[in-house]
Amino acid sequence: MWRRNIETMPRKELEKLQEDSLKRQLKYVYDNTRFYNKKFKEAGVKPEDFKSLKDLERFPLTTKQDIKKEVTLDDPFGGRCAIPRDKIWGITPPPEPEIEEPPIMSISTEYEREVLVDHLTRHLVMIGFSSGDILELQASQWESIASLIEGHFRVRRTVQSLIPFTSIPIENTLFLLDAPRATYLTKFFKPDVIITTVDYAKLMTQELEKEKGDPKTAFRPKIVVHRFRPGSPLLDEKTREEFKKTWGGTHLSMIDLGYGGFYAMECLQCNGHHAWEDGFVVETVDPNTGQPVGPGEKGMLVFTNLYAEGTPLVRFVTGHNARLDTEPCGCGRTHVRIFLE
């Protein structure tokens, strides 16, 4: 484990940590963003009303529509920007391949990057990735995951600066020669971990079939992570079985919603996506009433980030149905596991 004391923290302590962070974060967004100041006032709540985790449900949900309503040409962040210009490290475009006006743009600071790099390092160590390994990361140029995992070593912190590995970057926007390029490089270097998407992996299989190749022997994959991201499907059990048969190796699923730096990944037990609760509060709510559903029941996935400085999200409605499991995982981690439905 990368951070054993955090990853296996008893739930009571974890919840205490979340409470403290939320107190600070709710005050931060109320004081610093026009968007949440207005939203909280309309809902008749103040940051001081939050005393324990149970009180979070009194705070309003944030939907993409709520954000879009506020976005204007003069204020592209819709009143959500909480920092002065010179603290902005990067601006992230919307994660969907096809976007409409108005766009939901996000800002990140150096500190946020470091938190997310820490989260992703935990995820990668969780699936057995170690220094000296080869990682093939297939992502689109606009997605932030790539700049968090790969990148320069001495200039800014990335996963690569924490776990020195060899990276093979691949562009995931489907286009002309890209699948053959990915196939060729994978065939030759046989990466220890491939982070791909279900549809791109299928394309690589087709590419191999053209030359009568077999992924099992050609790629000899150990761990393949299928990233569920806007525009790419979730790795369901049927597809997982198919990939196990055609590719061999271990196939894991990862959630990358593209908003708020929310990443969750399955561990080798394949029993739900691990999210890091020291960084996020994860809830499931009834899509009609907005009320939290009971433990283990299916509901709309909602998250709040506890560390964000640039464009923080409070109770952000992801648009995906999920079940949550807070029992400790077989791997020993105590943080929540998410099952997308």
């Binding site: 976007i99 006006e101 020669l177």
Partner: protein, 451 residues
């Protein structure tokens, strides 16, 4: 605000170093790099032996120019198909311990060439990048809208450069696809960047998408102080004029940036726009005669050959860029003493019409001032030997071409007049209908190889 003399440069001491000192430094580095390559690179061990050279034979720069053979991609391809090693014997460090990034080049022939870089390789490339960015006027706190492709080596170096200078980047995909171009338009409209960085093809797709969305392109670019374009295509005056006509950004604020990804060699022009500056302490650049491979003097036209002076993972000594151009050693008006180069075009992209070589740049010069002409066209090669007619597939600026038939007649008339060739013209619906590889339009499409 007028910048002080010191603020004009990122690394003044090196950028304005007297030429004798630069050359002394280059010789030192060349010797070290040769020594390194000779002892660590399987490919060079072999090629030095074949050429009958040892590192001790290289005592002066002229020894290096004449005794060391020029390295061509084809040499590596041959080596690759012989040994199955995708690096073609260039890899000189242990893969799992030292290599940080593996990049595959565009791969115009289908199988990509593969290069590897270590930590230090990237750091040196980032120094070059930062210097060239600063020279083109990129400053802290700017917001840059930068397009890129993940597998392209430039992307990581560029991002590193942004971090060093403290520039905020909005990164998006470079591919000129309609839905991506729409992303670009929306992002630019809302984020109002000060710098736009992307190849002309991406920009053309943005213009097309903006027109379709009913956006005013001039308004879209109103916040843009600098346009950074080129990225492997030659930025001619025609191109700059067209960009100005569309965006309203004057030619003096349109910068040409390019390079060759494999040796990490990049160049860009300064505010004088008199050739593209390079970093002589990191690269040794010289033009060589196309036929005899003799080194040429400053300003003479030949093939540009580049030596990377710091590479550890895949050393590149005398890398033949296959681009025809010239290298100038005279001091630039901006005060920089490092060499500048101009690039005319790729030898391989010239069409053979009745034994005469027609470069894409020739076509551009002849047709450049017809209203509605764009630099997006493909010459079709339909026979192995000389061809009697020139077949062209062209994309046009539809707003300016009211009558496509009239336009075709004008193109044919001019080609007949200037080149004395008959031509067949096909006008395509949009730029994306032309064949392209990566972000570059294929200038010469070999139809004999198409099924």
């Amino acid at each position: 605000m007028v910048e002080s003399e010191l603020d004009k440069f990122w690394n003044k001491k090196i950028e304005t170093m007297p030429r004798e000192e630069i050359e002394e430094l280059q010789l030192k580095k060349i010797k070290a790099e040769i020594n390194y390559a000779y002892h660590n690179t399987p490919f060079y061990k072999k090629s030095f032996k074949e050429a009958g050279v040892t590192p001790e034979d290289i005592k002066t720069i002229s020894d290096f120019d004449t005794k060391v053979p020029i390295l061509y991609k084809d040499d590596l391809r041959a080596e690759r198909s012989r040994t199955g090693d995708p690096f073609g014997g260039l890899l000189s460090v242990p893969l799992n311990e030292r290599v940080k990034v593996i990049n595959a080049s565009t791969g115009t022939t289908g199988v990509p060439s593969v290069f590897a870089y270590t930590n230090d390789d990237w750091m040196m490339a980032a120094e070059q990048e930062t210097r060239l960015k600063w020279m083109r006027g990129w400053r802290p706190k700017d917001i840059v809208f930068a397009t890129g492709i993940r597998w392209h080596g430039y992307v990581v170096i560029s991002a590193t450069g942004l971090d060093i200078v403290n520039i905020t980047g909005i990164s998006d995909c470079m591919y000129p696809l309609p839905h991506i171009a729409k992303r670009h338009v929306i992002e630019m409209k809302y984020m109002k960047p000060q710098i736009f960085a992307g190849p002309m093809l991406t920009m053309s797709a943005i213009f097309e998408a903006a027109k379709k969305m009913g956006e005013d392109i001039k308004k879209l670019f109103s916040s843009v102080r600098l346009i950074d374009t080129g990225y492997g295509e030659i930025v001619t005056k025609t191109v700059k004029r067209r960009i100005e006509a569309e965006t309203g950004v004057p030619p003096e604020r349109i910068f040409d940036f390019g390079g060759v990804a494999d040796p990490l060699w990049y160049f860009g022009d300064c505010e004088e726009h008199e050739g593209n500056h390079q970093c002589d302490d990191l690269f040794y650049t010289k033009a060589f005669d196309l036929e005899t491979h003799e080194p040429l003097a400053s300003g003479e036209r030949g093939e540009i050959v580049v030596t990377n002076l710091f590479a550890e993972a895949t050393p590149m000594l005398k890398w033949g860029t296959e681009d025809t151009g010239a290298v100038f050693t005279e001091k630039c008006g901006c005060g920089r003493t490092h060499v500048r180069s101009i690039i005319l075009g790729r030898e391989a992209f010239a069409a053979n019409i009745k034994g005469m070589r027609v470069f894409p740049a020739d076509i551009e010069n002849i047709l450049g001032d017809i209203p509605g002409f764009t630099e997006w066209f493909t010459m079709l090669k339909y026979s192995k030997g000389p061809m009697d007619t020139l077949k062209l597939k062209m994309a046009t600026d539809k707003d300016k071409v009211k009558d496509p038939e009239e336009y075709k007649r004008e193109v044919k008339r001019r080609l007949k007049e200037k080149l004395d060739v008959e031509s067949e013209i096909e006008i395509v619906e949009s730029v994306s209908d032309l064949p392209f590889v990566g972000h570059k339009v294929v200038k010469l499409l070999d139809m004999t190889k198409q099924a």
